[in-house]
């Protein structure tokens, strides 16, 4: 921590959250407010033949597709799932209608009495079913939301010249965000304008979706974020759906309507991380160099398109891992199944593919009889090399320094690749390494399309206000962006104002996703602050607005997926130490050492929080976070059965950061939040594999599977 900006301050939202003073959407009360409860599909795929509504007492209403003034489809990337089922349902939990009324208990009772008559259609429930063409497709003709391919070099030739070919097939499961605060919004209509208050990441996504849903002019849709109790990507696209439902209800009833999901409901119906199946073939020449990769990636998108298109793209652009592979062919598909739609989740398609490529590299090492660390270092990408999509790795890559730092911290190199004794005879210990990156900001040309705008306003009392659409969801944006502005203007941290966004007050600085807030929006604010400093005495009150353009060096072809998929990359290296109990198959992740290159940290303590949280969330993903669907229904739908790590399950996490300033990031900062989750799963899987001497190709790694392997 050599930079002044990295020195930590007390995060601005810590006290109100610790003291219980922060108000979440559940705490908000509006006069004459009505509560809403959603009636949902109980079957995975059906035509709705009839809906029988019980007699409604005075003041109680049913709200369905006939009440939508505009388009009954949520605008995400395409017009997607209906706000209210439009004659058919495609997953268990798909919303059909709302019951709204003044007493929540009564609303629930009425909702329970609504009877829906279905004519079931044979559902598509697995990736294999989705591609088999056996049942009528859910989406398009081929049942793929997207089907992409890109190639660099000449893969066919490389395989023809290969000395050795190594193949692997890898699978990852669902992951549920399990933010502590469930999804919730309130909608208030004043006869002309709708206002949405809620727990969210992307106020402008909601604003645009609602203008179309409600057939209102955008100026008559106002979206206000309230304190948000965790999100992890789960509040990127999903809140648009419930905001639309609540808004339609508010317009119909002319009363404020609050819609908050209960926990089990939230687990059942909100988005999840895409389950995946990835197949790799690696061509290796006589010198042991990996000369080509042939990759086939399939993501299970669930019943509706959602963000699957771009989630898959990020996965595909990660297919070479952190390695310099001259020839690569990547085929990616996101398939439709009659299950809950999958969507954005910290890492956004990359964790699945990094799990696969890192497992493949361990397999290649074992095939070649080489230490997995040496194999990785031999292939590690460096400055000036081409990325998988033929972009140029322009900034310095410090993988060797990161591995050296890990070695100093953990002394892992001599222990890796072996089954070591644990503290008791029936315990086996193993170590695993993972190397990974996260492409910073939106994938491809996304940042140029968003063209984020950020505003800085000088008030007459000398205070400076940040006006951006970016949200605090626990990650520390309120603190980090204030620090960037205060440090640039050389004013007190407390003299910078940054309220949670209200679309009537802030420009569209883009969504709070893709680890872009600090690097992209913070970068704009830094420029605005530099200009404000120059012009400080110009007036008592004035505003400066900055608009984002990619640095000039970036070239990208969205049609062929050629060029710089990201403006820059953050890197990570993890070592996991695990114990496996050979009697019960239980895995104890004891220790994770993690080194990250996020450019320059904007706040060392905030960054440590991100790093520890990301590693723990990745540990859960690899081990105990089991979520499986049977006949289209999620089996682990309660907080009891979907288990995330408790303090007793959390490994000791030791983090370190390598300075590697990025010219175009504020104070040298790159992306940080998502990166930290990506490496835990492949490192843990490698460690388990080494401990028990059996190949691990699937996460979560369940004791049930370990016991089968040990038997």
């Amino acid at each position: 921590m050599s930079e002044r900006i990295s020195m930590s301050v007390e995060r601005v939202d810590a006290r109100e959250k610790i003291y219980g003073e922060a108000l979440y959407i559940g705490d908000y009360r509006f006069e004459d407010m009505l509560f809403a409860k959603t009636v949902r599909s109980k079957v995975p795929r059906a035509k709705i033949l009839n809906v029988k509504i019980p007699a409604l007492p005075d003041g109680y209403f049913v709200v369905d597709r006939d009440d939508v003034p505009g388009k009954n489809r949520v605008k995400i990337l395409v017009y997607d799932q209906p706000y209210f089922a439009d004659g058919v349902v495609n997953y268990i939990g798909e919303p059909i209608l709302l019951v709204v009324g003044p007493e929540r208990e009564k609303v629930f009772e009425i909702a329970r009495k609504v009877e829906v008559e279905y004519e079931e259609i044979p559902p598509i429930l697995t990736i294999d079913d989705a591609l088999s063409g056996k049942n009528q497709p859910i989406y398009g003709d081929d049942n793929c939301f997207v089907d992409y391919h890109y190639e660099k070099g000449n893969v066919k030739n490389a395989f023809a010249n290969a000395e050795t070919i190594v193949e692997g097939e890898y699978e990852t499961g669902y992951q549920e965000h399990l933010y502590i605060e469930p999804q919730g919004v309130a909608a208030v209509f004043d006869g002309e304008k709708i206002t949405i208050y809620g727990s969210m990441q992307c106020p402008y996504y909601i604003k645009r979706a609602l203008a179309e849903c409600l057939a209102l002019d955008e100026k008559n849709v106002r979206v206000v974020q309230v304190t948000t109790g965790g999100a992890f990507g789960g509040k990127e696209e999903y809140p648009s759906l419930i905001a639309g439902q609540a808004a339609v209800a508010a317009m119909k009833t002319q009363k404020p309507v609050k819609l908050i999901l209960d926990r089990t409901e939230d687990i059942m119906v909100s988005t999840k991380r895409h389950p995946s199946r990835t197949r790799y073939r690696a061509a290796i020449d006589a010198d042991g160099k990996v000369i080509a990769l042939d990759v086939d990636i399939i993501f299970d998108g669930g019943a509706y398109a959602g963000l699957s298109d771009v989630v898959l793209q990020r996965g595909m652009f990660s297919a070479a891992g952190v390695y310099n592979i001259p020839n690569i062919s990547v085929h990616g598909r996101a398939v439709a199944t009659n299950k809950v739609p999958t969507g954005a989740f910290r890492g956004f398609g990359a964790p699945q593919v990094f799990f696969a490529i890192e497992r493949l590299f361990d397999k290649i090492a074992s095939k070649l009889g080489e230490n997995p660390v040496d194999l990785r270092l031999r292939h590690a990408i460096s400055q000036g090399d081409f990325t998988a999509t033929g972009g140029i790795m322009r900034q310095p890559v410090k993988i060797p320094e990161m591995v050296e730092k890990l070695e100093k911290m953990s002394d892992f190199r001599s222990k890796i690749g072996k089954s070591l004794p644990g503290d008791e005879p029936h315990i086996k210990r193993g170590y695993g390494l993972s190397l990974f990156f996260h492409g910073c900001g939106f994938t491809g040309n996304g940042e140029n399309i968003i063209a984020a705008e950020a505003k800085l306003k000088k008030h007459s009392d000398g205070k400076v206000e940040i006006l951006v659409a970016n949200t605090e969801m626990g990650q520390g944006a309120l603190t980090a962006l204030r620090k960037i502005v205060a440090e640039t203007l050389k004013i007190q941290f407390d003299d910078v104002i940054y309220e949670l966004p209200d679309t009537d007050r802030v420009p569209d600085s883009g969504p709070t996703v893709a680890s872009r807030t600090t690097m992209i929006v913070g970068g704009l604010l830094k420029k605005a602050a530099e200009e404000m400093r120059e012009r400080w005495n110009e007036a008592d009150e004035f505003e400066i607005m900055k608009k984002y353009h990619h640095p000039d060096y970036i070239r990208w072809n969205q049609e062929t997926f050629e060029g710089d998929a990201y403006p820059t990359y953050s890197f990570g290296a993890n070592v996991a130490e695990v114990d496996v109990d050979t009697i019960t198959g239980e895995i104890a992740v004891r220790h994770i050492w993690a080194v990250f290159d996020v450019g320059i940290t904007i706040d060392e303590v905030l960054m440590r929080g991100q790093a520890q949280g990301g590693v723990v969330q990745g540990t859960g993903y690899a081990t105990i976070e089991v979520m499986e669907a049977q006949a289209g229904r999620l089996l682990q739908s309660t907080i009891t059965d979907y288990t995330i790590p408790t303090t007793k399950d959390v490994p000791l996490v030791e983090c370190a950061f390598i300075d590697n300033p990025y010219e175009y990031g504020p104070f040298g900062a790159k992306c940080a939040g998502e990166l930290t989750l990506v490496g835990a799963a492949p490192a843990i899987a490698a460690a388990v594999e080494n401990a028990i001497g059996r190949e691990i190709v699937r996460i979560p790694i369940k004791p049930e599977e370990i016991i089968k392997k040990l038997d």
Partner: protein
């Protein structure tokens, strides 16, 4: 649908309510309040009357008599865990249940009455030869725990009775062992549990008891099998490990559910038995 919730002041009142209405007793509510929940902020709705007995002092005690330890049914898991006289094997199980907050309200009577195959106090209570004292207005009766629980959620509790007390014979074991395999290390339900208690003289086994949790409709303890392996030496026991496992095998009839598989439960319960025989004693 009967929505009555009764709040008796004392045990007599509770027994009268039980006798006249058959209302289902609730103490900590950590099972029933969850099972009948409707939504946050809305009270659960039971389709039967309930009687709240968790605050009745006459049901909250831990006392020691000449031969027994007596635990009132509404004694919380925390109170049991903190008590010096409670047998260690029961405390080992209680210490791994749920979380401190849940243990502060959950009661031993509730765990017994709920009769879940995965109830974690049950295997130690089977091993300890615990008896359940049931009370109604006319008096009380005492039944061994394995006679009290007849199936998942099934007991012989009559509609006018309340679980009054758990009576545990005072005894000492030279070796105890408890292992719970949960979905995680805390706040977890059991996939499998294995409990064992042994007394020996020199290298001869006097008394050896095993109990398996979550692998059959009720906790598995077999006095018959235990009887066959008394008065043998440790070495003989280790040599006959396969035979013992084979005898327990037909009793172990687990299910597949959202937490684990029947195959895993079966294999791991026998693996733990063998591990205990070979490595722990």
């Amino acid at each position: 649908m009967n929505e009555f919730v009764y709040l008796p002041e004392n045990l007599d009142e509770a027994l009268e309510i039980r006798a006249s209405t058959g209302a289902v007793p609730i103490a900590g509510g950590t099972d029933l309040m969850v099972r009948y929940r409707r939504g946050s902020g809305i009270p659960p709705q039971f389709d039967f009357p309930v009687v709240l007995i968790g605050k009745i002092d006459a049901l909250r005690y831990i006392e020691v008599s000449a031969d027994n330890i007596h635990i009132g049914s509404a004694t919380t898991l925390t109170e049991i865990f903190m008590n010096e006289d409670v047998p260690q094997i029961l405390k080992l199980a209680v210490g791994e249940m749920a979380s401190p907050a849940i243990r502060n309200v959950a009661t031993i009577g509730g765990n017994i009455g709920n009769a879940s195959p995965a109830g974690d106090t049950l295997p130690p209570l089977y091993i300890l030869d615990a008896k359940i004292v049931l009370k109604n207005l006319n008096g009380e009766r005492e039944v061994p725990i394995e006679d009290f629980i007849t199936g998942p959620g099934q007991t012989i509790l009559r509609s006018d009775e309340i679980i009054y007390e758990v009576t545990i014979p005072i005894g000492n074991f030279d070796k105890i062992y408890y292992r719970k395999i949960g979905t995680r290390k805390a706040l977890a339900l059991s996939k499998v549990s294995f409990s064992a208690a042994v007394n020996y003289r020199g290298d001869v086994i006097d008394d050896m008891r095993f109990a398996f949790g979550a692998v059959a409709p009720v906790v598995i303890r077999s006095r018959e099998i235990e009887g066959e392996f008394k008065n043998i030496t440790f070495n003989e026991l280790k040599n006959r490990e396969g035979e013992i496992a084979q005898k327990y095998s037909p009793l172990i009839n687990p299910i597949d559910d959202q937490r684990s598989t029947a195959e895993y439960r079966r294999k791991v319960s026998l693996r733990l038995l063998k591990f205990f025989i070979q490595n722990v004693i």
